[in-house]
Every structure is written in structure tokens, then in C-alpha cells.
């Protein structure tokens, strides 16, 4: 095979792809796939049946190469330096999430541009790397970037998968996340999750006078941005499935109300015009419905309303007590929610129209904030028995299992692929909050880097 030709053909394909529209708005730009993955080889997927087997894979991720060092808005030193950063993002995605045994670009020689499609096998075998991730970055005439990503099996001396993306310079990290997703998906058989965002509440100030602001960031903490200025307390955000809106609670006019915030326009609207307090907003998986909870005369019930606005709210629960929250099953047919109708907070499931309400949590203590896994097979929740801990159970309430053990962990949110749970942890006395994540095995618990205190994480889906 003529590597040069192969590479050029990839390049031509990339150039032929329509340039991605540069959206002046705030809406997240999509990374445009310019090449379908090479599905020729299915060998490795067939052998990956045990998590521990793929977790042990040694993966070398050297700096991405560039055809020539060109200026780019993504890096002051040009595409050469950007290539190193791309490799680092891929490496950190895998390393920080406890995936594989990656070795990053700062500990590896940098392949030259022609080597990207023709790895120097001997050099990588000598480093006991079983897998090799190579990539390139090129500056395009329109200011955008083309990023290619290749995964090789070093032992087989074979390419497993490749993909390329055209992104705006501002979106360069997304190309690296796409590459990490490609590697992770190909080797684990799981769905991708790195190219996604998190909405959360940034907390500053002392416990008795804490400022709570709506904020957003990428799944790795990059591109952090405060949305609200902190004058009104903000709580419990949720990204819409298309990332165009955030629904959250604000004390904007002195009282707790749910607002729908449009990220592109910066405008926000009340989810309902009612004078009653509204809380605990959620999106349906298709983005067509918003769930919210509303207190009337001290009695809180769950309602749904069309997300397009202007519709009439439909009440889904009507028992005395506090019915609150709610999380749709991935197919949208059911809702898991929290109710104290039995005397204490417990978890219930109902049909999406409110029918067939039944309790599923029967293991002592209290159970709160249920969130249905995007895979559908698990429900994450907060278990309260003195301490607050994050736990999972099946949708029928079986197999309850703790994921964390700390003084106060609450409000789990799922990674888009249902393999990792984020939550927030409160420290006793100081009340300082931080966002943590843990994988479904209860391992790889780690704190996310946020500029200030952080609570109420809400992980959105994988970007298109």
C-alpha cells in the first residue's frame, strides 16, 4: 500500500467535505465527520468481552503531527504546538477516567507527518505499547482545522480504525475528544462520552452567604463559562438534549422558579406562569417535554409541559406529600421519581403520563434524586441513612449497590454512555462543595477540576 497516496486520499476527502458553518451564536458547533470509520477489521471487538481485559491495554499516544507548522487561532505557536496539545487531551481523557494504561505525548517521541499513516512498528513494540494512537492536524484556508485520528494494533501491525474531523479553531478540543471517543469505543465496545458538556452550579463565599451561579464546561473541565452573575441564587440545571437550552431554578424575582435559558440568545422564560414555587426541572430524552415539580399549599407534585412553550401543564402525581424530581427512561415511556407519600423519601416509577405509580426502593433508609441511566439498565440515586451516598439499582429496585462512601454525596448524573456517574460532595462544617465522578464498578473516583466550589452537575449527551 502506498502510504503517501493513502494519506493524500484522506486529505482530499477532507478537503472535499463542506466546511462547517461557523455559527456566530453560542450554540455548540458540530464536528463534521469527514470519513467513515474503517470497519474492515472486526477482530478486536470480538475479543473484548471482559472489562478488565481491555482496561489493561497499554496505549501510546504521541503528539499529533502537522504537515507544516501554520498559524492557527487555536494555538499561538501554530499547528505544531497544537498537535502536542491534541495528544495531551486524548491522553488525559483516557487517563483521568481510568481507562486503559495510556502513555502520553510528553513521555513519547513525536512521529513525523508521514509516519501517521505508516507507524514505525518496531519503535512502538519496544515500548511495550499494545495500541498506538496517532493523529495529525492541518490548518485550513478558512481558519478551521482538519484533525485525523488513527488507532493501530501494534502487535498485529494493523490499523483498527480511523476518522477525521473538520472543526473551527475554537473547537479544537472537540476533535481530540472525538479521537478519545473513537479509541475508547473501538477498544471497549462501549458508547462514546468524551465529547460532551456539563452544566453545574458554581459556589463561592462562606457557608452562611453562598453565591450560586449557573456555569457550563466541557466533560474534561475545559471551556469553563459562568452563565449567571450570582445576584440571584441558581440551582439544579439540566442541559436540553440538543444543548441549545438549560432549564434551571432561579430566585431571580425573590422566589424559586424554573426558567428555560436559551444559550444562543441569552433569553430566559418561566416554565409556567403560576405564582407557586417550581423546582426540580428535567428534560425528556427527545427534548419535547419538561418535567417540573410545583408546590401548592405545601403539597408538591410533578408536572409536565411542552418544551416548545405556551402549552398547558399536565399534573402527573396527586398524592398528599412531596412528589419531586423525575427522570425519563431512555425510550421516554417511563419516569422514575421521588416521593415521601409512604412517610419518607423513596423512589417510584410511573408511566410517562402518570399512570401505574409504584414504589421500587425497599432497602431501608431514604432514597432520593433518581436518575435513569442512558443505557436504561440502572437507576442512580442518593441513599440517605445518616450519611448521603450515591448508589445504583436496577429499574425494578433490585441489586442496590453503593458507588461512594463519604459524609455527603448527592445528586448523581450519568455520563452519556451510562458507564460513569458524577455527583457532588459536601464537606462537613465548611459546606464546601465539589463535583466528583466514579465509574459503575465504584472504582476510579476522582474530583473534577473546577475554578470554584461546584454542585448539581448535569451531564449532557454526546455532541453530534
Amino acid at each position: 500500500m502506498n502510504i503517501r497516496t493513502l494519506f493524500l486520499s484522506v486529505g482530499l476527502c477532507v478537503l472535499a467535505a463542506p466546511a462547517f458553518a461557523q455559527d456566530a451564536g453560542q450554540a455548540p458547533a458540530g464536528a463534521q465527520p469527514v470519513e467513515v470509520p474503517n470497519l474492515e477489521d472486526e477482530g478486536l471487538v470480538g475479543t473484548v468481552t471482559d472489562e478488565s481485559a481491555w482496561q489493561d491495554l497499554g496505549i501510546a499516544i504521541p503528539a499529533f503531527a502537522t504537515n507544516s507548522n501554520q498559524p492557527t487561532a487555536a494555538n499561538a505557536q501554530g499547528t505544531g504546538a497544537l498537535g502536542l496539545e491534541l495528544g495531551r487531551v486524548v491522553y488525559n481523557d483516557l487517563r483521568n477516567n481510568g481507562l486503559f494504561r495510556p502513555v502520553g505525548p510528553d513521555a513519547l517521541p513525536r512521529p513525523a507527518y508521514p509516519e501517521i499513516t505508516a507507524p514505525t512498528w518496531g519503535a512502538w513494540q519496544g515500548r511495550s505499547a499494545e495500541m498506538l494512537v496517532q493523529g495529525y492536524v492541518r490548518a485550513n484556508a478558512d481558519g478551521g482545522l482538519t484533525v485525523g485520528c488513527y488507532l493501530y494494533d501494534v502487535q498485529l501491525q494493523q490499523e483498527l480504525v480511523r476518522e477525521g474531523w473538520v472543526v473551527t479553531a475554537a473547537d479544537w478540543r472537540r476533535a481530540a475528544h472525538k479521537c478519545a471517543d473513537l479509541v475508547y469505543s473501538r477498544l471497549s465496545g462501549e458508547s462514546p462520552f468524551f465529547d460532551s458538556k456539563i452544566a453545574y452550579i458554581a459556589e463561592t463565599g462562606p457557608k452562611g452567604n453562598r453565591v450560586k451561579r449557573l456555569a457550563i464546561m466541557d466533560s474534561d473541565g475545559a471551556n469553563h463559562r459562568f452563565i449567571t452573575n450570582g445576584q440571584a441564587t441558581a440551582l439544579t440545571p439540566r442541559y436540553s438534549p440538543d444543548y441549545s437550552k438549560i432549564v434551571y431554578l432561579s430566585y431571580l424575582n425573590g422566589y424559586p422558579r424554573i426558567f428555560v435559558y436559551d444559550i444562543g440568545t441569552g433569553r430566559q422564560t418561566l416554565v409556567t406562569e403560576s405564582q407557586n414555587p417550581t423546582m426540580a426541572p428535567r428534560w425528556s430524552p427527545d427534548g419535547k417535554w419538561i418535567l417540573y415539580s410545583m408546590a401548592t399549599g405545601g403539597n408538591t407534585d410533578i408536572y409536565r409541559v411542552s418544551a416548545s412553550g405556551g402549552g398547558t401543564s399536565q399534573r402527573l402525581t396527586d398524592t398528599p406529600g412531596i412528589d419531586i424530581g423525575g427522570s425519563y427512561s431512555p425510550d421516554g415511556s417511563k419516569i422514575v421519581f421521588e416521593s415521601d407519600r409512604s412517610g419518607s423519601q423513596q423512589i417510584y416509577v410511573m408511566d410517562a403520563d402518570g399512570g401505574n405509580q409504584r414504589r421500587i426502593s425497599f432497602f431501608g433508609g431514604r432514597a432520593a434524586t433518581p436518575e435513569w441511566s442512558p443505557r436504561g439498565d440502572q437507576i442512580a440515586f442518593t441513599h440517605i441513612a445518616g450519611d448521603l451516598r450515591v448508589a445504583v439499582m436496577s429499574p425494578s429496585g433490585g441489586g442496590m449497590r453503593y458507588l461512594t462512601n463519604n459524609w455527603q454525596d448527592e445528586a448523581p448524573t450519568w455520563a452519556p454512555n451510562g458507564r460513569i456517574v458524577q455527583f457532588f460532595r459536601t464537606a462537613p462544617n465548611s459546606g464546601e462543595t465539589s463535583i466528583w465522578q466514579v465509574d459503575l464498578t465504584g472504582r476510579n473516583e476522582r474530583r473534577l477540576n473546577t475554578p470554584v466550589g461546584a454542585s448539581d452537575p448535569a451531564w449532557g449527551p454526546v455532541l453530534p
Binding site: 462562606p206 457557608k207 452562611g208 453562598r210 450560586k212 441564587t233 440551582l235 439544579t236 431554578l249 425573590g254 422566589y255 424559586p256 414555587p277 423546582m279 426540580a280 415539580s293 408546590a295 399549599g297 405545601g298 403539597n299 408538591t300 412531596i322 419531586i324 424530581g325 421521588e338 415521601d340 419518607s344 423519601q345 432520593a368 434524586t369 442518593t382 440517605i384 448521603l388 455527603q408 448527592e410 445528586a411 459536601t426 462537613p428 462544617n429 459546606g431 454542585s455 448539581d456
Partner: protein, 169 residues
């Protein structure tokens, strides 16, 4: 303050000391606007009658009622405090009030918002039962977001599970 109010004050003070099972171990500090005053009629000078500062001073801590964990019932001690609040509102018939409901930190955020609303509503309903027009009373819940006692211990949590009546000036 008239004689009846003083009597109620004394009675509820006795009740407080006699059955403080769920009351905080130590009474909350008086609101910052209050200057410590000996028992007896309020001074002729000071906060404007009918203002929040005057109300807080006159209530001597009974602008706030406390709840057991996860509870929102109005017990006899709360009733005495609310009666005193109602008398004040009857004396100053044009004032309005907000009842702020709170929860301690040992619960989930959203549930505590609903719980705070339930506590504030329980206090409001009791005031309405004593003849205060519902039009003069509204509620707001802060859940666990605005603790007044900052420790992570039973005494602090007891002080934070509260409903506070605040006069709208």
C-alpha cells in the same frame, strides 16, 4: 406591648423551658437588628412600630419556629410563637409578612426546597387559622441553601430546621 402579650410571652417561655425536647439546645441569637432588652414594655424610642426591626425585637426570638427532622407539624411551642406573631399582625393591621421555610443540610437539595415550602406553609396556615388574612402572608422556601447555624452537628441542624416570619416593610 399589652398585658395579654406579656402573659403569652411568659407562658410560652415557661412552655419552652419545660418541654424543649425538639428545641435547639441553645436559643438562636437574636436577629442582628435587635438590641438586648430587659423584660418589660418596649422603649418608646427605637424601631418604627410595624417594621421588621420592631417585629423582631418584640418577638424576642419567636419570629422563628423550629421543626424536627423531616417534620413540619406545628407543636404547642410553635403555636405559642405563632399566636404572638398573630397578635402583632392584628395590632398592626396593614403589615404583610413573608414566611421563610428552611431545612437542615442533611438532605438532598430539591427535597429540602419542597420541605422548606411545606414548613413555611404550615406556619402560614396556622396564622390564617388565628384570623390573619391569607392575603397578608406569603411563603418562600430556601431549602438548605441559607443556614443560620453553620456547624455540621445536631444543634446546628436543629436551629436550621425553621420557619421565620419576616415583616415586609
Amino acid at each position: 406591648m399589652n398585658k395579654t402579650a406579656i402573659a403569652v410571652t411568659l407562658a410560652s417561655a415557661l412552655a419552652l423551658s419545660a418541654c424543649s425536647k425538639k428545641a435547639p439546645e441553645e436559643l438562636p441569637p437574636p436577629p442582628q437588628t435587635t438590641t438586648p432588652t430587659p423584660s418589660g414594655p418596649p422603649p418608646q424610642t427605637g424601631p418604627i412600630p410595624g417594621s421588621q426591626a420592631h417585629f423582631a425585637q418584640a418577638m424576642q426570638g419567636r419570629d422563628t419556629i423550629y421543626f424536627d427532622t423531616d417534620q413540619y407539624n406545628i407543636d404547642p411551642e410553635d403555636q405559642a410563637a405563632l399566636r404572638q406573631q398573630a397578635q402583632y399582625m392584628q395590632q398592626y393591621a396593614d403589615i404583610r409578612a413573608t414566611i421563610e421555610g428552611h431545612a437542615d443540610e442533611r438532605g438532598t437539595r430539591e427535597y429540602n426546597l419542597a420541605l422548606g415550602e411545606r414548613r413555611a406553609t404550615a406556619a402560614r396556615n396556622y396564622l390564617v387559622s388565628l384570623g390573619i388574612s391569607p392575603d397578608r402572608l406569603n411563603t418562600v422556601s430556601y431549602g438548605k441553601e441559607r443556614p443560620i447555624a453553620l456547624g455540621s452537628d445536631q444543634a446546628s441542624w436543629a436551629r436550621n430546621r425553621r420557619a421565620v416570619t419576616v415583616i415586609l416593610n
